[in-house]
Every structure is written in structure tokens, then in C-alpha cells.
Symmetry: none
DNA sequence: GATGAATGAGGCTTCATTCAT
DNA sequence: GATGAATGAAGCCTCATTCAT
């Protein structure tokens, strides 16, 4: 299938999918997504061969946006802790700003719809973040632990922090800092 | 004095559901679950009014089993750290021993099928664990953070640890310890 | 410019429904109706959102056809009695010609499936007939009775007449006249 | 199947059926009827072999009650008109007093569930009424019309009258009289 | 007999995907 | 390409009836 002329509808569909999936779950009908996007139901399939394909692209899109946002404006020269905190703040803020996106990403991640390839691609997008984490723990107590493990923990603390920031958004900033400090205590 | 409702079938259905959902996801047909349980499809509905009801009961069952296992054999008198580690070990071991149960629990947790009531009931089952966590952080750096936040982090580190233990099960014991130490560094 | 929705299928479905309902009642499966109409079962639902919707539309269709037939070719200028008789003849003939339609209409009318809206719409279709009745009784013994009552009686005598015409169709014409005369005696 | 010991439950079931069918239609589940009657669902089938059987007996029961009420206290010696009016009043009053019974009887009558035998039995119950009608028209304009036809018309006018009495129950008595007068004008 | 759990065929409806226009 | 009607397999759930206790 040739690439469709404009990306407009593709993006409209992806955004609509996010909105619909938040409320209806992954089993939301493609027709509903198309309608929400203001696109005829049949056309969805000229942009995405199958529903699974749409879901995988959505996964990548969200992951990419998340990673991009986290790493945006990262100062090239600064203390590791400072650099890491910058990323942490961007990252968690993204989640608080777009809770639906985070939720959908979570749903997609546990679902069986995402292919190994997509997961691998998704991980690549987090590569810079991983590198940052790797350096941060270089002299700390987890210096000998497998990087994957450290990343997993970092990710999970981030998730918990995001949850709490979203839940109690008036103190979001404070929770953001607390989460970071806790993480730092673990690795450094 | 009619045939009494058999608890066996109820359990068979719940276990079958776990097995089926691991491979097919939450959208697995009820007929498939019934078949796997060796029960006629219509009978599923004499034990669970709807599929959603089945899912909610499964959630509670798994949560309850997980909490029960974690707290089993907890020595009444011991150092907090020791007590907590005992729980941690039980908990993560359960996840490694029954990866399907954990996976299904994860799917259920993010799905929209679980009612607020079920979630509340599920939380209650973790109450003892929560208390333990509360005491552990009493003199540490997170002593002023909201308990919910501490629990969320604890939970997320546990998740990461379980993931890693499952993935690299030869070193499961080591990862279990590492995860715990990381957590302890955060709170104490 | 997709395939336009075919009115043919809609009508085929309505006619099939009539045929099926006569023999199987209102509980006739939609699949059976679709099959009888030579249409795939799923397609029934592109023409009628639900079975109830199909039933309501069928009700209206039949009512409309009945009213239309009754009033067809009504001479603008003629004695009231003459005009009324014309209608009466058309009306009862329709019932004798299409006994299945009448029977289905009867089933629908007593069933709980027909909405108040549909009933109201159905009544409107009989408005001209009602007007005719109203004029006919204007100088008779029922001139002071509520119009609704007169209409109900008229309708019920018509029903009885139709029954008898159908049952003993060789004398249909005679019964038609007798029914009309009886009715006329009542109102004029 | 041997006759069950007591008629209590049988009657409870029949009455429950009436109540349930009014609101849910003839497709009401037997389990619902049993529950409404305070009888275990399985027991329904010791009183009625099948659902159809229950429906037929209900039909007969209602028909019998209706006829019985109509003919109750009929003065042996009185003018035909007077006698007939007595019956008419009883009959229509019954319908106004028990609108659910009438409605259910109507539903049953048009449904395909009632056997020819039941219908025949039902007609027999109206025999006295038929005889009355026959005498009433003996010298009137319908003296040569088939008795069946006259009965049908009588029945249908009664139906219309009942409808109107129920609808506008404050003037029930008046409508009762009006209906009767209209009928009388037709036959006498 | 009384009870209510058990059964499995079948009903209505949904939906991803295709395809006529 | 764009559109939305068409398709039919499949899903959840219902229910009359049977039967173990």
C-alpha cells in the first residue's frame, strides 16, 4: 500500500484512538475511532492495514513522544545529577500533562497486541535515557547490577511517581522531587 | 436438596481463566475458558453472572493469594528489616513461581473491567503489607512522604524486581536481594 | 461514492419479516428473517439497528399501507355514506387480500415492542379515516360520544368484519356490506 | 404426571404468570414466573409439563373467569335486553377491574401458543353468552346473518368499550352504557 | 415430591475487514 | 483514492427443561 498523501488523517486517527481507548479500552471498535477522527470508517484501513498495526504505531508514537519530551533541552554540560533530574522532570511532567497518553501506553504495553519488533523499537527510543541512567549509577551501590535491572527499577519508580503526581496534582512538583530523590538514593 | 453448587467448578473456572488469559488476553472467549475448565459453556454463568464478574473475582482471588503468600509465616518478633525482607522474598517468589498469575493480575489491573469496589477490596488485602512498609520508613528519609506514595514506590520496585527475577531466573535470588536493598536504601 | 444503501433490501427484509412472523410469531429469529430475505444475517442490522426497530418499522409500514389502501380513490364529492362505504370496502378488502399482513399487524399491536411514538405515528396515518368517521356520526346517536370511542368501535367492527370475510371468503362481499350496515346503524 | 397434591402453587403460578406477562410479554422466562410465585423454578414443571401448557391453562383460566363473571347473577326471568345488559355490565366491569388479565388474555389469543383445542374449550365457556346474543338479534336486522358474525361483532364492540372504559375510567359507567346502546342498535 | 444447579442450543448483536461505486 | 455499505464469523448471554440430591 502506497504511503497516503498527507499525514493529517493518520495523526487524527492516532489521536482519536488515544481518546477512545482511554474510555473504552483496547477493544474499542475501529469504526468508533474513525468517527472520532472525523474519518470514514473504511479509510482507517488505508492508513493502517489492520487494527493491530494501528495499535503498534500508536505505541511507537506515544513512546517516541514520551522519550522526546523527556530528553528535550537537555544541557550538554552539567552535573550528571542535574542532567538526570532535568530528564526526570520532563518525563514525569509529560505524564501529568497527558494522563490519557500515559494510560493508553500502559494498556498497550501489557496487551498482547504489541509485537516484539515494536517493543524493541520502543526501547531504542529510550536509549539516551538508558545511557544517562548507566552513568548515574557508575559509582553507586548498583554499579554491578545489570543495567536492565537498574532501568527497570528506574522506570518503575517513575511510574509510581507519575501516579502520585497525577493523583495529587497540587503537590505534583513536590512528589516529582521526592521520587527523584528516592531514586537517587538507590543508585548513587 | 438439589445438587449443591460445586466450589470445584468455580475454582476450575478461575484457574482455567488464568491459563487462557495468559495466552489470549482478556478478550478470551468465555466459551474457551469453560472448555478449558471442562465445564459446559452455559455453566460458567451459573458461577459468574457475567464475564466482568468472573474477571473481578479472578482479580480478587489472585490479589488475595498474592497477599496471603507474601505474609505467610511472618515471624512476630524480629527486626523490621528482617520481617520486611521475609515478606519481600515471599512476595517476589510467588511472582516467579506463578508468572502467569502475575501477568494476568497485571492485565486485570490496567483493564477497565475491574470495579472501584474490587480495587478497594484488593487494597484491603494488602493492608498488613502496608503497615509493615509504614513502620519501615518511620525513621528514614521518606518519613514525611505520604504513605500511599511510599507504597506505590515499594510496589513498583517489587514489580521491577519480579520482572528481572523472572527474566533471569538463574539469578533470581540475587536480584531479589538487590531489589530489596535498593528499596531499603530509599526508605531507611 | 460508496455503494448506496439499497431500498430493495430494506423492503425485502420487511416483507420477509411479515412472512416469517405469520408462521413463527414475533419471536422469530432475525437470522431466519434475513435468510428469507436472501440477505446475510449481519446486513439486517445495517438496515435496522435492532430487532425492535425492525418491528416498529414494519408496524408503521403495514399501518401506512393499510391506511393508504383504504383511502385510495376516495371520491371528493359524494354522500358521506357513499364515501365511507368506499373506504370501508377498500379497508376490509385489503385485510382479506393480505391476511398475513393483517395478522402481523395485530401481533405487533398487542406486543410490547411497539413504542408510544410508533403508535402515535400510526394513528396519524389514520387521521383522514378518523375525520370521515367524525363527520358520519355528526347527526347520529353517537354525536356526543368522544370521537376516540367512536373510532375504537368502528375499528373493532371492522376487525370483526375482516375476520368473517377472511374465514368465509366466498361471501366476503356480503359480510363486508353487513358489517358496514351494522356500523352505520350504530352511528347514523 | 400425577395431579399435584394442592392447587395452591398451581394458582400462584398462574397468577404470577399474569403479572409477569403484563410487563414482560409472553417471552417472559419461566424462572421469572416461578420466582414471582415464590416457587422454585424447577417446580413449575411439576405443575405444568411445558411452558406452552402453562400458557394454555392460563388462557382457559382467564377465559373461564371472564365468562363466569359475565354470567354471574343473571336473572332467569327478565327482558332479553335487560338480561343482556346485565351480562354486558359484568363483562366490561371485569375487564376494567382486572386490566392485566384482559391484556394477557389478548396476548395469548393472538399468539401461536394456544392450541385449537384450547380455543374450542374457550369458546364453549362463552356458550351461554352466545345464546343470549342469538336471542337478542332474533327479530332484528341481523337475524339472518351468521351467528358467528354477530358474535364477532359483539365481541369486538365489547373490546372497544372495555378499552375506553379503562382509558377513561371516571366515565366508565357511561361508556359501558354507550357501548351497549351502540351494540343494541346494531342487532335489535 | 421438592429443589435449584446443570445443560447446550440458539438468539441478538458486534466488528474487522473488504469492496462496489 | 475515498467512501460507507456489506459481510459472516464469533461473542456473550438466556432459557426451557432435566436431573442429582
Amino acid at each position: 500500500m502506497p504511503r497516503p498523501r498527507s499525514d493529517e488523517k493518520r495523526i487524527a486517527l492516532l489521536e482519536a484512538a488515544t481518546r477512545i481507548i482511554v474510555t473504552q479500552g483496547l477493544s474499542a471498535p475501529t469504526a468508533g475511532i474513525a468517527k472520532e477522527a472525523g474519518v470514514p470508517n473504511g479509510s482507517l484501513f488505508t492508513y493502517f492495514e489492520t487494527k493491530t498495526e494501528l495499535l503498534n504505531q500508536l505505541y511507537l508514537e506515544l513512546k517516541s513522544e514520551m522519550a522526546g519530551t523527556a530528553l528535550k533541552g537537555l544541557p550538554a554540560k552539567a552535573e550528571p545529577r542535574e542532567r538526570f533530574f532535568r530528564v526526570w522532570r520532563n518525563w514525569t511532567n509529560w505524564a501529568v500533562t497527558f494522563p490519557e497518553k500515559r494510560q493508553v501506553l500502559a494498556q498497550l504495553s501489557v496487551s498482547g497486541e504489541i509485537t516484539a519488533q515494536s517493543r524493541a523499537d520502543g526501547h531504542k527510543m529510550m536509549a539516551n535515557l538508558a545511557e544517562l541512567a548507566d552513568r548515574s549509577r557508575a559509582n553507586g551501590p548498583m554499579r554491578k547490577a545489570p543495567l536492565g535491572f537498574v532501568l527497570a527499577i528506574m522506570n518503575s519508580v517513575a511510574e509510581a511517581t507519575m501516579d502520585y503526581m497525577t493523583q495529587d496534582s497540587t503537590n505534583a512538583k513536590k512528589h516529582c522531587k521526592e521520587g527523584f530523590d528516592a531514586l537517587w538514593r538507590m543508585v548513587e
